[in-house]
């Protein structure tokens, strides 16, 4: 049994793997693999409907918001969001909290002007900027709710005079959010929703169709709304596994229960990082991510030895992102607290070894 701390694609519940594996042989007692059924079959239409309904219920998505099951990841949304919301000749505002936010900013510049209201760059993205004003003359304000690489998370939804657009790829479904405060939420699925290959978009219908821009139909949210996420052949298996995973989340008690667990898991690990003299957390304490716990060693020369010990104890994918180094323990929904306890044990064992 491996303890998978990977940043995404990431661990999903073992029972989801089991059910998914069975469906690859025989889906829903059809005698067919989930991989060979038509996306237009009534069985798969039921999967799409249930997935959408699980997302709507778990996040209390208001009725005037559409839920779309798309492809191309957050990267594609970096372009689709401005295409659909930024008016011709219009302006947008972005908060720069890390690599992904920067990519989003770069892509938006293809569609209009972008005001970066604040950036954490000079602090190496270890702090989420808080002192900024969102302009009133922009079409939307964009931010990234969780920064996988730097291990920071923005918990308080900004007060905004304009529609909020949020890349929630890495913390959606991990904690309660008030969807009605957003104009557009998007998320690559491969953290707490399901496997790679699926992208979720939640959009307030009232915001669409106002850019004055001709949007190629495949990039127009309205095409996907009209076609109920069947404008093109959807990523059938990724949607099916997302449905299984969201069923698991609901059975577990939904967002409220998972948030409680996520708080306990991250607190457990941060307490050890703060206590253990060999380790240190670079992110500002108030902005520490619950999903991606980044930490380094006071003596960087010991890092590879620690990684080797962790590996020996079946703790995998703890290496930090190649751009920042150190360690990153991703504590997504499906990671059991027992894996966190084991990581803490290994950190203490390492401390003992180096006394």
């Amino acid at each position: 049994m491996k303890h998978n701390f990977g940043a995404g694609p990431c661990i999903l519940p073992q029972e989801v793997f089991k059910q998914a594996s069975e469906a690859v042989i025989n889906f829903n007692d059809t005698g067919l693999s989930i991989l060979e059924i038509s996306h237009r079959s009534k069985e798969f239409e039921a999967v799409v409907a249930e997935t959408e309904s699980l997302i709507r219920d778990l996040l209390s998505v208001p009725q005037n918001y559409s839920i779309l099951l798309l492809q191309g990841g957050a990267r594609q949304q970096f372009a689709m969001a401005p295409m659909n919301l930024l008016k011709e000749g219009g302006k947008s505002a972005y908060l720069d909290t890390g690599s992904w936010a920067s990519y989003a900013i770069k892509e938006a510049k293809n569609f209009g002007s972008v005001e970066v209201v604040a950036s954490g760059k000079e602090n190496n993205y270890t702090i989420i900027p808080k002192d900024y004003t969102i302009p009133t003359d922009v079409d939307y304000f964009h931010y990234t709710s969780n920064n996988t690489i730097f291990g920071t998370e923005l918990f308080d939804i900004p007060n905004s005079p304009v529609p909020l657009v949020c890349d929630m790829s890495s913390d959606i479904m991990s904690r309660k959010i008030d969807v009605s405060k957003f104009g557009l939420i998007y998320a690559g699925a491969q953290k707490n929703i399901g496997p790679a290959g699926l992208t979720i978009v939640i959009v307030n219908n009232d915001l669409l169709g106002k850019t004055g821009r001709t949007i190629p139909s495949v990039f127009d949210y309205q095409s996907h709304i009209n076609a109920k996420s069947m404008f093109n052949t959807p990523p059938v298996f990724s949607i099916y596994v997302a449905m299984l995973n969201l069923r698991w989340l609901r059975l577990k008690g939904g967002i409220e229960e998972i948030e409680r667990e996520n708080i306990v898991k991250s607190r457990t690990l941060y307490e050890e990082i703060d206590r253990n003299p060999l380790f240190r957390g670079p992110s500002a304490v108030e902005d520490r991510s619950r999903m991606n716990v980044t930490f380094v060693m006071e003596n960087p020369e010991l890092e590879s030895e620690f990684l080797a010990l962790a590996q020996k104890r079946d703790l995998v994918a703890l290496k930090g992102h190649r751009s920042v180094g150190g360690f990153r323990a991703s504590l997504y929904n499906a990671l059991p607290i027992s894996s966190v306890h084991l990581l803490v044990d290994v950190m203490q064992e390492f401390e003992e070894n180096h006394k």
Copy 2:
């Protein structure tokens, strides 16, 4: 055992389902599911490299062509192809052979002018137009090699004075093609490549970077070439299954062997359609698709009875596309000839019943 004649997502080899099912529990003896591994892991990088290499070998793709593993299906390529190849203020030429070709034409008009050199529409798309001239002043000529809905296929690559762009979604890997005659080939994977959620692009590198247009990075083939198909998180599982399926194809003897089988399978079924007085094939004989065999009944009132009998004999997904009616038997690579023989048997049984 069901005999799956579905038009896509479609049947894949049973051994591919078995291997894929196992990898959902334990991928490559890593102790991890294929659904939870990092796309940046060396194990998955090997999967991407092998998939690309299988495509290159099977289709003899020249070295100056890139092979990309993308998302969004042919629908997204309807936009990306002109974005990347149609110059600002430039012209393109399209051949209209059916619904998918029409959608491609519609999308291209967002990026420049489009000349439709010929259309099969007045013949209800039962014939592929052959009498047309490709202009010399266009940036490319686009056609669809196989029309899933109408059951026609274009076997002879047109002689073109400009780069050829081809939507090969539904017949790629089914027969030999000379890739060097094309500038760009794209294909949704969900027929002969693998499951839904993956799109293959094969592009002559020399054609890129010449439009004078700013292309959002996620829609720019060059971004994906530079990032070796890892510009965004790739559809991990769909790529893995595609690799398994292409391995199967190579073991079977590659394109040459599968083409031989596909000729036999389609001939077997067309012979019965032509012989059996109850059935009729609407497509022009010289344009009959080997992948999607469309047929109707002389007496349409018997169609639902025939479908019911086929269903009883475990032949599934034979209903024609909702826009044309009748029947469609898709004979993709993984469909065994025994399934075709069984369909022929049922057609003969039905004939007996109605003597």
